[in-house]
């Protein structure tokens, strides 16, 4: 049985100080997260709870869905000393390794993910602006929403989906691998050159994705080395007897709202179909790591991919097959846990995009990032008579990922929007109403001084008498406005809130 597909994405932004000879990205990342967080001291309605610590007590990134952590695998390190802020929209904004990273709050459908991803861009933009106001001009910080520096370094845009613990993980590995390899034809953000060790970077002019070159394993726990197509981190941030959180690390960060929508939306429907055992044919690649790169390296979309049974399939054909099942699934009750009316829109968009890719990819130049970027750099190169390897073209390709309002190339070329500006701005300060992010966000808005730490699945309050009380929210479907709005309006303090919660639990 499928379960509601609560989901979210976490984006690591690139960060530079282009005028400094010696850059310190960890410091620069801390500066911008702090600059944003410190607003709380200046404003009563600032969208952030500055003093709230992230609670690492329950973080177990070394847990592997396959059971024991295999010897020799490298679980992600948690850096507890770096800066963390928990925001009033339920999001988390922090320093991860050497990058500023923002996680959306838990969202109820793919369209809501697009909204909070865009609100996250606004938060980064404001953080940059606030930081730069206090820096010398030569220390200026810029962030970009991309996944590769073109020199062999990559950083991720990870997706998270709630899935049922009852679903065999082998089924997820099988079908999700096929989807992740082939969805690249609409999720890719486009990249000049290639970054596979041993290959000349100019041996490929342009490829669909930023990330495919960095995947070396089919299944595994790592996120920074030997990256796997299927990540096995088993850290549900929820009741582990009921739920898994599928942590997807192989996608690109998208500038296009349509691409984010379809990336998340198609994956939501795929996972629900797996839970309902709706997919009967298994498309198993002979060599998934080779295939993920073959798809990314083929702008003609014609490359036949070898399957384990000796036959072959094109990425578009595999996507048509998954789409066809998805359409039937949604028409026959599958929309219930995949977004309702939003699921219908996912199906319409998916069909239109696959048709466009098949008949006339340029028709998708305002919706699909790799196509928009390719057309842009080709026109620019033509006009100035430059090769794609010229630094000006590489700069243009980098600035495609610029999120600043004044320099946003994707606005200049008119990428289509799915979310109104007003809605995006409201997402900076307000949590989704349909998930536990509502409880987290509203408590941070009402009583920021009483919350001493937060995590996805709990809040710790300091209440009267200097007692600490931890309120767990183990189910992401709980803590919604439907269930809590009247309670939160009624009580006047965290002490009252906790007393009411404890008496209702008795």
């Amino acid at each position: 049985m499928s379960i509601p597909k609560i989901c979210g994405i976490e984006t690591e932004y690139a960060i530079i100080q282009p005028k400094l000879a010696d850059q310190n990205p960890i410091h620069a990342s801390s500066v911008i997260v702090n600059a944003y967080a410190k607003q709380a001291d200046l404003s009563t309605n600032s969208g952030v709870a500055y003093s709230v610590e992230w609670d690492f007590n329950n973080e177990m990134p070394e847990n592997d869905v396959r059971g024991l952590t295999p010897i020799g695998s490298l679980p992600p390190l948690i850096e507890t000393h770096l800066v963390n802020a928990v925001l009033e929209n339920g999001a988390r904004f922090y320093v991860d390794h050497a990058h500023p990273e923002i996680s959306t709050p838990e969202c109820v459908d793919a369209l809501q993910v697009v909204k909070y991803d865009r609100s996250g861009e606004k938060i980064l933009e404001l953080a940059m602006h606030l930081a730069n106001q206090n820096l010398e001009p030569e220390e200026e910080i810029i962030v970009y929403k991309d996944n590769s520096d073109g020199k062999g370094n990559s950083y991720g845009c990870h997706e998270n989906y709630l899935v049922s613990r009852l679903t065999p993980f082998g089924d997820i590995i099988c079908h999700a691998t096929t989807h992740f390899i082939t969805r690249q034809i609409y999720t890719g953000s486009g990249k000049i050159g290639v970054e596979i060790p041993g290959l000349d970077s100019d041996s490929l002019q342009y490829q669909l994705t930023q990330r495919a070159d960095f995947f070396e394993e089919e299944v595994g726990l790592e996120t920074t080395l030997k990256r796997p197509i299927i990540n096995t981190r088993d850290e549900p941030h929820a009741d582990a007897s009921k739920y898994r959180r599928l942590h997807v690390i192989c996608g690109d960060a998208n500038m296009s709202e349509t691409a984010t929508f379809l990336k998340v939306g198609s994956t939501i429907i795929l996972l629900a179909m797996i839970e309902d055992d709706f997919l009967h044919r298994r498309i198993i690649f002979d060599n998934p790591v080779r295939s993920i790169r073959e798809v990314s390296h083929d702008t003609s979309l014609q490359k036949p991919l070898m399957l384990q049974d000796g036959s072959s399939i094109r990425a578009l054909e595999a996507q048509w097959e998954i789409f066809s099942s998805a359409k039937t699934y949604v028409e026959n009750g599958g929309a219930e846990h995949t977004g309702g009316a939003v699921a219908q829109t996912i199906i319409q968009t998916w069909e239109r995009v696959l048709t466009g890719l098949e008949k006339d990819p340029e028709s998708l130049s305002t919706e699909i990032d790799w196509i928009a970027k390719k057309l842009l750099i080709e026109r620019y190169a033509d006009r100035h008579n430059l090769p794609l390897t010229d630094p000006r073209i590489k700069l243009l390709a980098l600035q495609y990922h610029d999120i600043r309002e004044s320099k946003r190339i994707t606005d200049i070329i008119g990428l289509k929007k799915l979310i109104d500006e007003e809605e995006i701005l409201s997402g900076i300060d307000n949590p989704p109403e349909e998930t536990r992010a509502y409880f987290r966000g509203m408590c941070l808005q009402k009583w920021p001084e009483s919350i001493v730490s937060a995590n996805w699945d709990s809040l710790v309050f300091r209440i009267e008498g200097d007692h600490l009380k931890r309120i767990p929210i183990l189910d992401p479907n709980e803590g919604t406005s439907l269930k809590l709005q009247s309670l939160l309006n009624r009580v006047n303090s965290p002490t009252e809130l906790i007393a009411e919660i404890e008496s209702s639990n008795k």
């Binding site: 690591e12 690139a14 960060i15 530079i16 282009p18 850059q23 990205p25 969208g47 992600p76 991860d96 390794h97 050497a98 990058h99 933009e125 404001l126 602006h129 996944n147 073109g150 020199k151 370094n153 950083y155 991720g156 990870h158 996120t223 690390i249 829109t345 319409q348 239109r352 466009g356 008949k359 340029e362 028709s363 998708l364 130049s365 305002t366 057309l375 842009l376 620019y380 006009r383 010229d390 000006r392 590489k394 700069l395 243009l396 980098l398 600035q399 610029d402 309002e405 004044s406 320099k407 190339i409 606005d411 200049i412 070329i413 008119g414 289509k416 929007k417 799915l418 979310i419 701005l425």
Partner: protein
Amino acid sequence: MAEQEYSKEQIPNQDSDSSLDDDSVSQSETSSELANELDGLLDEIDSVLESNAEEFVKSYVQKGGQ
């Protein structure tokens, strides 16, 4: 948020509701128009590009990512 300037002139092709329902025929009809439009936008793009492309691209190194 008040001091942040968010107003911006409406960009072409922005239509939040019907964008999801456009059919593929009207899409492909507009593709050459879009290409011509893009030519007209390249001046604007020139004005937002950072100066000193070679140095800028060279200094763009991002270690320690997931």
